[in-house]
Amino acid sequence: MTLVPGSALPQSNHARLLRRLAADPLAAAALGTLVMLAAGAVFASVLAPYDPLRIEMTRVMQPPSAAHWFGTDGQGRDIFSRVLFGLRLTGLMGFCAIAIGGALGTAAGMLAAFYPRLDGLIMRLMDVLLSFPAILFGLAIAAIIGAGTLSVIIALAISTIPLTARIARGAALTVIAQDYIAAGRVIGLTDTGLLVRYILPNCLSTIVVFLTLRLGQAILLAASLGFLGLGTQPPTPELGTMAAQGINFFFFAPHVAIIPSLVIFALVLATNVLGDFLRDILDPRLRG
């Protein structure tokens, strides 16, 4: 089998990936940060020293201390505990949106590449979706079904579909042109069999790299919508919403708004650095 550009990795490449990671301290640091943040999010209920929703009006807006590592917010809630739970929700929102939008976009792109008769219709539809920035989907969906976690996920998922479809279509077209696909047809494989068993796996690394690069933006947008009050509603801790609440008394207690924002920055930066690293190794064609 000839190895097409962007095809699935043979086993030896995983070892190469690890070697490259060891040689690139920045990417390694990004991976470390991500693992740490992910652990904090997953084990939030174990790690959080306080109940993230417990209001204590006697300890309002306290600066960081030994008792409250990140201080307390406007209602005396422990910011460290809220950041852990907020990290979970913000990360989950970005992840869900990318997973759903990525899956739908991949399906659309594959179908467009495989059935030339559908190509024009699907890709024009994608062009229409691409005509709108993600933030606009966020506004429109919040206006239609109301502000909340779900509307953010829907908006981000929709905005992920068209670009993923383009990438998936491009990758699939390269694979479909290969001899082994023609051979598969000759021995009588069904369309579904060809698509799922041969074409999809060979496009996957390109699509995954693209979605990793996209994840950072999705998280940033989720947080922005939260900050605007169009995302997760208080008192549920979400990083963007927490930053927005802190803005109200920013000059008295800046840490309430700054700390959640810095956590978002760290999360997105680590995701982006790691995404760039993966792209350089797995699929340099996506550079640009």
Binding site: L136, A143, S224, F227, L230, G240, A243, A244, I258, L269
Partner: protein, 313 residues
Amino acid sequence: MLRYTAQRLLFAVPVIFGVLLIGFALLNLVPSDPATVRAGPTASAAVITQIRSEMGLDRPLWEQFLRYVGSIMQGDLGTSLVNNMSVAEELSRSFLATLELIALCLVWAVPLAILLGVAAAVSRGGFLDRLIISGAVAGISLPVFLIGMVLLWIFGFQLQWLPFTGRGGPLWTLDGFRHAVLPSLCLGLIFVGPVARITRTSMLEVLGADHIRTARAKGLEERLIVGRHALRNAMIPVTTLIGLQIGYLMGGAIVTETIFSWPGVGRLAVGAIVANDLPVAQGAIIALALGFIAINIIVDLLYAVLDPRIQAR
């Protein structure tokens, strides 16, 4: 060129149709019945039926939609549920404020980004290159509101150099300009990263091209090679990609307007959605969408002018 322009405009038709459909859905398909809302809680069923027919709500949906499109064409977007102001009037005022903000941001951010991108490409692999690249990646990862907060803290609160809430009047007055500095700085900072990165990539590609090698071979000064022969070619992809980034800029503008209480369309839209003021929300979303479509068309046409090969496709 004419044919390309016509094609591009034709493609916008279904998109605009979609936008209007969403706006219509927003006003008419939401769970609450507008006639019941207008009639008030104590109205009898007969009164509600009468209001329904007055508002045209008993007509078929497609007829309602046509009427809706007709009234939008005439510039009638309804009135706000909150303050009874004309939506079109509020929109035209806030649209200007948003344009002002975006213009003042592009004026400094785009040249700076291109300069940084070129500097990085010329010193490829060197310290400056790595510094600029890291800065760009960090810039792409920064939440706009974090930038806003830092600017607010340093220049608005600690140094008290600049005002940080609202708009001070037209941009050409001193007060108007002073009010616009921090918001446009905030918005521009998220734009520099991506554009610098694109410029660098594009520059590197052009610097490796044959005509640059020829220019070097004939002993042309490096400054002229970069400035005259490379940059001009590199600008073509940069222009399109700046166009593609306008959506990103729009997202940033909405957040920036909220932080600095800038009376633009974004802030209007967000406030209306939060307050459930559907006519204003609908109008602002349509305005933002149409503005975005218009910008995209302009960028595409500009691209075709810069690169004649496009029209041939």
